[in-house]
C-alpha cells in the first residue's frame, strides 16, 4: 500500500532537513532549554546575579491560588475562543459556498479582519465597549443595560473572547471554504437525488468530509487562544477585573515583563509548554481517530 521514496546517499536528505532542523533548534529548542534552565533560578532583572532555588519557583506558583485558578480561566477562555472562532467561520463558509453572484467580493471582505493585529483588534473593541465613551456601551445603556466590563468579570471575559475570536473567524473561514470546495459535487448531488435535504447532507456528508480541516483548525485555534491572545487581553482588561481574564500566557508576560520576575515567568513557560504538549497529544490520540482523511 505505502509508497516510500528512498534516497541513495545520506547527504541529500540531511541537507534537505537541515534548514528546518536548524531553525527549530535556534528558535525553539534553544529558548525552550533556556526557559527550563532559568526556571530553576531567581535572577535579578539585570542578570547581575541569580540564586539557584531548584523547584522553588514551581512550588511558589502551585501554592498560589490565583495561579491555579488561571488554569480554569484559560480552559474557559480557549474553549470559548475556539468555538466562537470556528462555528461562525463554518457557517459563513457554507453560506459563501452556495453563493452564485458576488462570491469573490464576500470572500475578500470576510478575510479582511485577519489582517488586523490582535492588539489593534483589542483597541477597536475597547473603543466600542468602553463603559463611559463606547458606542455599543452607550446603546446598551439606552436599552437599560449597564455595561461595565471594567468591574464585571463575565462581561470582561465575553469582550476578550469576542475580540480574540473576531479576527480568527477570517482565518478559519479561508480553510473551511477551501475544504468545502474540495468536496466532490457528485457526492452531494447523489445524496440530493436520494432525497437528503440540506441539513441531512451537511451533517452526513459535508461535515465528515471536512473533518481533516476541522481537526487542523481545532489544533491551530487552541494554540492561538493559548499563546497569541495576550495582546488583546493586555489592551482590553490587563487581566482584570480581579484576574478574571488572566490566562496563563498573560501571566507569563506580566510576571516577566511587568514584574521583572524572570524566574517565575520561566517556570510558567515550562508549565505552559507541558500543558500544550499534553493537549496536543490528547488531540492527536483521541480526536484524530474520528477524522477521515
Amino acid at each position: 500500500m505505502e509508497k516510500r521514496v528512498t534516497f541513495k546517499g545520506w547527504l541529500l536528505p540531511v541537507a534537505l532537513i537541515a534548514p528546518q532542523a536548524l531553525i527549530s533548534l535556534i528558535f525553539f529548542f534553544y529558548p525552550a532549554a533556556q526557559a527550563v534552565w532559568q526556571s530553576l533560578f531567581i535572577p535579578d532583572p539585570f542578570g547581575l546575579s541569580s540564586q539557584f532555588v531548584g523547584l522553588g519557583n514551581f512550588e511558589f506558583l502551585l501554592k498560589d491560588p490565583y495561579y491555579r485558578s488561571s488554569f480554569v480561566t484559560t480552559a474557559i477562555f480557549s474553549t470559548l475562543v475556539t468555538l466562537a472562532a470556528m462555528i461562525p467561520a463554518l457557517f459563513l463558509a457554507v453560506v459563501a459556498d452556495r453563493l452564485i453572484k458576488g462570491a469573490g467580493a464576500y470572500r475578500t471582505m470576510l478575510i479582511w479582519p485577519y489582517a488586523v493585529a490582535p492588539a489593534v483588534a483589542g483597541v477597536l473593541w475597547l473603543f466600542m465597549f468602553n463603559p463611559r465613551v463606547g458606542v455599543v456601551a452607550w446603546y446598551l445603556g439606552q436599552l437599560g443595560y449597564d455595561w461595565n466590563h471594567v468591574l464585571n468579570d463575565g462581561e470582561a471575559m465575553g469582550l476578550v473572547v469576542a475580540a480574540s475570536a473576531w479576527g480568527r473567524i477570517s482565518y478559519n473561514f479561508l480553510f473551511f471554504f477551501a475544504g468545502l470546495q474540495a468536496i466532490p459535487k457528485s457526492l452531494i448531488e447523489a445524496a440530493a437525488i436520494d432525497g437528503a435535504r440540506f441539513w441531512k447532507r451537511f451533517f452526513t456528508i459535508v461535515l465528515p468530509l471536512l473533518s481533516p480541516t476541522t481537526f487542523f483548525l481545532l489544533v491551530v485555534n487552541v494554540v492561538y487562544a493559548f499563546f497569541e491572545t495576550f495582546g488583546v487581553i493586555h489592551t482590553i482588561t490587563s487581566g482584570g477585573p480581579q484576574q478574571a481574564t488572566t490566562i496563563l500566557v498573560y501571566k507569563v508576560f506580566s510576571d516577566g515583563f511587568v514584574g521583572q520576575d524572570l524566574g517565575s515567568s520561566s517556570a510558567q513557560s515550562v508549565i505552559l509548554l507541558v500543558v500544550v504538549g499534553l493537549l496536543t497529544i490528547i488531540q492527536f490520540k483521541f480526536v484524530e481517530k474520528k477524522v477521515h482523511y
Binding site: 531567581i42 532583572p45 463611559r132 471594567v150 477585573p241 506580566s254 510576571d255 515583563f257 511587568v258
Partner: protein
C-alpha cells in the same frame, strides 16, 4: 522572543547612531514620552545640543514607562545600554537593587554637585538613606482635586464651596447625586492617589521599614484603620453612584475633560490636557483629607519618572551626561518645563523663578501642587515608597480595589488580601536582590 527583538532593535539603533558620530561624544537618552511631552523633551535636547559642541544627546522614545524600563534592562543584558534611562517612580527599587547596572547620579555629577538645591520632597523619593541622589527627578507630579465649577453651579452648589476635607466632599457628592449628576466624582491612578498618597498625607505607613527605605525586608501595611476607613467610604460612594470608577490608569480623565464629572482626583500634571480640552470653568484644589484622622495633613508624595545613569560607559560620555543633567536642572529650563507641563519644579530656584515670572498669578491653582508637596518637612511615612515588584503590587491593589467598588468585598477584606498577596512578591524580590 520579545526580549530578543528589543535587544536587536537596541543594537541596531546603537549601530546606526555610531555611524553618525563625529567629533562629538554621543549621549544616548531613552525616554517614555510621546505627544506634547515628547515634543517638549525633544525641544530641551535640541536646545542643549545647540548650546555646546562637545556632546550630542540623542533622545529615543522606547514605549510607555514599563516598556522603556524593559528596553533598558534588555539592552543592559545585551551590553548595549543607553547612558540615560528614564524610569518611573515604581521602578526605583528595581534600579536601586541593580548596583552593578547603574552609576549613581551624585557620583556622575562630581564634587561641585549641590544636592540641597533640589526640593526635598521631590528628590527624597530617589535618595539613599544618607541623602545622596541616585537618580535625577525629571517629571514629578502629585495628586490634586480637579473641580468642574460649572457642574457645581448647575447642581445649585456654590462653586467656591469648601472641599478641603473628605467629609465635606462626601456632603457635596450627595448633593450632586440628588441634583441628578451622573458622575459626581471619578479618579485616575487609584492606588497612587487613594492609598499611597492617602497614607503619606495622613502620615500613616504604607509599608514597614519606612515604606521600604529601610531595607528590602519591608512588609506592606496599608490595611490599617485609616486606609480601611477611606476605602470603605469610597466603596459606599461607588455603590451609591457618587463615585464612578473608570479604570486603572487615567481613563477617568476623558470623562472629566468631557464635562461629565464634577470632581476628579488626578495628577497635577493633568493640567495641560484639562486646560486645552475642558469647555468649562475648572479649579485645582488641594487633595482632601479626613478631618476625623488629622486636622493638619502631611505632604503628598510624587509620581512620575527620574533619570538613571547606566553603568559601563566611557568617561567622556559620563562628562556629557553630567553636563546634560545640569542643563536640565538649571532654573530656566526647569521653570519652563514646570509651566509647560504642570509637573513640579525639581529645584527651589525654578519654583522661585516661576513665581517671579508671575505664572502662578496668571494661572491660579498651578501652585496648589507645589504648596501641598512642600507644606511640611517629609516624615518617614511621606518621603516616598521604595518597594520591589511595585508595578505588580499596584496591579494587585487595583484588582482588590475593583472588588470593593463592585461591592464584592469589604474594604478590610480587600486590603488584607492585597497586603498578603503583595507581601509574597516582596519576599521574592528580597530573595532576588540578596
Amino acid at each position: 522572543m520579545t526580549k530578543f527583538s528589543i535587544a536587536a532593535t537596541a543594537a541596531l539603533t546603537t549601530a546606526l547612531s555610531t555611524l553618525a558620530a563625529s567629533a562629538e561624544t554621543e549621549v544616548q537618552f531613552w525616554h517614555a514620552f510621546t505627544g506634547r511631552l515628547g515634543e517638549l523633551v525633544d525641544a530641551q535636547v535640541e536646545t542643549f545640543n545647540g548650546s555646546q559642541d562637545a556632546y550630542k544627546v540623542v533622545a529615543s522614545h522606547k514605549g510607555n514607562y514599563s516598556e522603556t524600563l524593559n528596553a533598558g534592562i534588555a539592552a543592559f543584558r545585551a551590553g548595549e545600554q543607553p547612558d540615560i534611562l528614564m524610569v518611573f517612580e515604581v521602578g526605583t527599587a528595581t534600579m536601586m537593587g541593580a548596583k552593578g547596572a547603574i552609576n549613581p547620579v551624585f557620583e556622575v555629577m562630581g564634587d561641585g554637585f549641590d544636592q540641597d538645591a533640589y526640593i526635598g520632597a521631590v528628590k527624597g523619593y530617589y535618595t539613599t538613606a544618607d541623602g545622596n541622589m541616585l537618580s535625577l527627578p525629571f517629571n514629578s507630579s502629585t495628586p490634586v482635586l480637579w473641580v468642574n465649577r460649572d457642574k457645581l453651579s448647575e447642581a445649585g452648589i456654590d462653586p467656591d464651596t469648601d472641599l478641603s476635607t473628605w467629609e465635606k466632599v462626601g456632603d457635596v457628592l450627595g448633593q450632586l447625586k440628588d441634583a441628578g449628576v451622573d458622575c459626581p466624582m471619578t479618579t485616575a491612578w487609584q492606588s497612587w492617589i487613594h492609598l499611597e498618597n492617602f497614607s503619606a498625607y495622613h502620615d500613616v505607613p504604607f509599608a514597614t521599614k519606612d515604606n521600604g527605605f529601610g531595607g528590602t525586608d519591608t512588609e506592606l501595611a496599608f490595611n490599617s484603620d485609616a486606609q480601611v476607613a477611606h476605602i470603605s467610604a469610597m466603596g459606599e460612594w461607588a455603590q451609591d453612584g457618587k463615585f464612578i470608577y473608570a479604570g486603572r490608569r487615567n481613563e477617568g480623565g476623558a470623562n472629566f475633560r468631557g464635562g461629565e464629572c464634577a470632581l476628579f482626583t488626578e495628577s497635577s500634571a493633568g493640567y495641560a490636557g484639562i486646560k486645552s480640552e475642558a469647555g468649562f470653568e475648572f479649579d485645582v484644589r488641594p487633595l482632601p483629607y479626613w478631618e476625623a484622622l488629622t486636622t493638619d495633613p502631611q505632604n503628598t508624595i510624587i509620581g512620575g519618572a527620574s533619570l538613571w545613569v547606566m553603568a559601563g560607559q566611557s568617561d567622556e560620555e559620563y562628562a556629557g551626561v553630567a553636563e546634560f543633567l545640569s542643563f536640565l536642572s538649571s532654573p530656566e529650563v526647569q521653570a519652563q518645563w514646570h509651566q509647560d507641563t504642570g509637573y513640579l519644579p525639581i529645584t527651589s530656584a525654578a519654583a522661585e523663578l516661576t513665581r517671579e515670572q508671575g505664572f502662578y498669578e496668571e494661572n491660579p491653582g498651578t501652585d496648589v501642587a507645589v504648596i501641598q508637596m512642600t507644606r511640611k518637612e517629609p516624615t518617614a511615612n511621606s518621603k516616598g515608597l521604595r518597594l520591589g515588584s511595585f508595578d505588580q503590587i499596584r496591579g494587585i491593589i487595583d484588582e482588590e480595589l475593583e472588588a470593593v467598588w463592585s461591592g464584592d468585598k469589604s474594604a478590610q477584606d480587600a486590603l488584607d488580601n492585597a497586603v498578603e498577596r503583595g507581601n509574597q512578591l516582596l519576599r521574592r524580590f528580597e530573595q532576588a536582590s540578596n
